[in-house]
């Protein structure tokens, strides 16, 4: 959020000159022509803001409308395209909360546990692997690194069937282990890559100095690299949170018992079971399911934007 460019004068034509004189701290008195041009530019700027806000509103309209619809009687959802409900009915939330076999809190808790395990797993395992790739000398490093990079692009579908066979032979179906254990084993190679990039930016002198002071790799990793890599760790945690919270495919496959459902699986089951007769409570629970992601978005924006900008993740 800090990367706003330096403010430039709105008059595009004389931007360079204006900049130089601005830098010198003495703007020449504007001529009438310049004034007119500047007014026109200001107007254009205003128009652009209006268009951008209008476009943003269209973009967010469905979400805002879902929020508004979640607090009105179901019948109105089919009649009121506006954002302000004419009648407020919070029963969608209470109905939705208990509409399935288990209260919605069960699913929130399940999702929370999966997310927590995944975040911890990715933070620990990926940073360990990243430390090795970024700082250690070992035979075949480039080869292993290339293999790691290739595994980033591997579609999960290629491994899902044997994984299912493996996990069901371990009696892990309908536990959270199939969702968490892979993260503990650093299979989200993408984050390894992200952290390797970050670790490489940390001055080598720091760990060399630590080595002279008798630090081993474990302590260098723990005491020097990790504290310095907090931004990368934050980015990893945030993206792992959002991806895991939204993940549907693997949770749908590994969790089939209603008491183990996570939020997305429960929502999909809810939608299918009600046959779309109760849009109100369906919307209410959808809103509930979006709140955690929205909060993470709100407070983690800096890391999100930096994360995408440097690596191109969603």
């Amino acid at each position: 959020m800090t990367e706003l460019t330096a403010p430039t004068l709105p008059d595009e034509g004389t931007r360079l000159g204006a900049r130089i004189s601005h830098a010198a701290g003495q703007l020449p008195p504007p001529s009438a022509r310049q004034l007119r041009a500047r007014r026109r530019a200001a107007l254009m700027g205003l128009l652009r803001h209006a268009l951008l806000i209008g476009f943003g509103l269209i973009m967010l309209y469905p979400l805002l409308w879902m929020l508004a619809s979640s607090i009105k009687p179901s019948a109105l959802i089919f009649r009121e395209p506006g954002l302000i409900p004419t009648e407020i009915d919070m029963s969608n939330y209470t109905d939705g909360w208990t509409a399935l076999l288990h209260p919605f809190s069960t699913y929130l808790l399940n999702s929370g546990l999966v997310v927590l395990g995944s975040v911890i797993g990715n933070l620990v395992a990926c940073s360990m692997a990243a430390y090795a790739f970024a700082r250690l000398e070992f035979r075949g490093r480039n080869l292993w690194f290339a293999i790691m990079l290739m595994s980033i692009m591997l579609p999960i579908h290629v491994v899902i069937v044997p994984q299912y066979v493996l996990f069901s032979s371990l009696q892990w179906i309908n536990t959270f282990l199939p969702l968490i254990v892979p993260k503990l084993l650093a299979t989200d190679a993408f984050f390894i890559f992200l952290m390797v990039q970050f670790f490489r930016g940390i001055p080598k002198e720091l760990d060399e100095a630590a080595r002279l002071d008798g630090c081993g790799h474990v302590r260098i990793y723990w005491r020097i690299m990790l504290p310095l890599a907090l931004p990368a760790l934050a980015t990893t945690a945030i993206f792992t949170f959002i991806w895991t919270w939204n993940d549907f495919f693997s949770q749908l496959i590994f969790l089939t018992r209603p008491d183990m459902y996570t939020v997305p699986v429960a929502l999909a089951a809810f939608k299918d079971s009600t046959g779309e007769t109760s849009w109100g409570s369906l919307f209410a629970m959808s809103i509930v399911s979006l709140i955690p992601v929205f909060l993470v978005f709100l407070f983690g924006q800096k890391y999100l934007v930096k994360g995408i900008a440097t690596t191109g993740i969603k």
């Binding site: 973009m59 620990v124 595994s151 579908h157 493996l166 549907f248 997305p264 999909a268 959808s286 979006l290």
Partner: protein, 314 residues
């Protein structure tokens, strides 16, 4: 890992403590084994092993309950005689080839507008980015189902203008269109990448060009386009790979059927239905490997084609 006696002499790096000397000559092999252990276990057990297993399974008839029987390449030949598979392929390619270019054009256009030193850039960026975070969730897919339903939000708006809209999600000609709109709606993440890319272009190029009298349009064509082309390429590859694996949207909007009339039968959805619906695991594995081939192929095509239009500034 840490050594106890701390070398204090100036030539310390050359003469590490006794225990270390051997390790240093061999590199950090021992430490690397420790740091890479989780990743390596994951690579073998969660990634490479299952990959090999699914390759094997793709040549077998396997239903999870009875041991797999070898049938040679039959699954692969069967795919091309399976009209539903061919349809899924067509649906997915249509989805990718239509939605990705629109999405990228839109994100580039907005990035260019936002890059003009606009105040409140971060505000707009956040608004446009939010849908990218939520777009893959079940909740938004549920919302989409309502918005494009027979008496959904879109038709309520159309009704204001006296237009009687279709039930978009339940019409075979339009259902895929609603998913394309959903994918375009998540243009925020490529936009953020474009914005970061635009920031990398040195301002002095534009200043030099405008001193030489180059118009804005000319500056865009001769400076922005070539210098941004690697980012366009990067986004293109990323979005193609990601879109090809879309699953949640189609699953939720179609109620897990790929309907109406298989018009939203994404590749991954068909794979899921074959593997985990009718337990045709051999066939699903073959589909997964073919998917890997397609994605690899499309990436390769992109890379080869990039030689003709991507400009690298070095």
């Amino acid at each position: 890992m840490s050594t106890t006696d701390i070398p204090r002499r100036a030539d310390a790096p050359a003469r590490r403590t006794r225990g270390r000397t051997g390790a240093t000559r061999r590199g950090d092999g021992r430490a690397a084994i420790i740091f890479l252990a989780p990743w390596f276990a994951g690579l073998v057990l969660i990634t490479a092993g299952p990959m090999a297993a699914s390759l094997y399974l793709s040549f077998t008839d396997y239903d999870l309950l009875t041991p797999p029987t070898w049938i040679g390449p039959e699954n692969y030949t069967r795919m091309f005689e399976d009209p539903r598979f061919l349809n899924a392929l067509q649906v997915t390619f249509t989805y990718v080839l239509v939605s990705v270019p629109i999405q990228l054009a839109l994100s580039l256009a907005l990035a260019l507008i936002l890059d003009k030193g606009l105040r409140a850039l971060s505000f707009y960026r956040s608004i446009y980015y939010l849908p990218s975070l939520l777009g893959g969730s079940v909740a938004v897919a549920i919302l989409w189902r309502q918005v494009f339903g027979a008496d959904g939000l879109l038709n309520q708006f159309l009704a204001l203008f006296g237009i009687q809209g279709e039930g978009w999600v339940s019409h075979p000609d339009y259902a895929l269109g609603t998913l394309i709109v959903l994918n375009v709606w998540t243009f925020g993440s490529p936009m953020v990448i474009f914005l970061a890319g635009l920031r990398q272009i040195p301002q002095m190029y534009y200043e030099a060009a405008s001193i030489d009298g180059a118009s804005k349009v000319r500056q865009f064509i001769t400076i922005t386009v070539p210098l941004l082309s690697p980012i366009v390429f990067f986004n293109l590859v990323l979005q193609v790979i990601g879109s090809f694996q879309s699953f949640t949207q189609a699953y939720v909007v179609s109620g897990g059927t790929g309907g109406p009339a298989d018009s939203t039968m994404f590749y991954t959805l068909y794979l899921y239905l074959k593997g985990f619906g009718s337990l045709d695991m051999g066939y699903a594995s073959a589909m997964a490997w073919f998917l890997l081939l397609i994605i690899g192929g499309m990436t390769a095509v992109n890379f080869v084609a990039s030689k003709y239009w991507v400009f690298y500034d070095d």
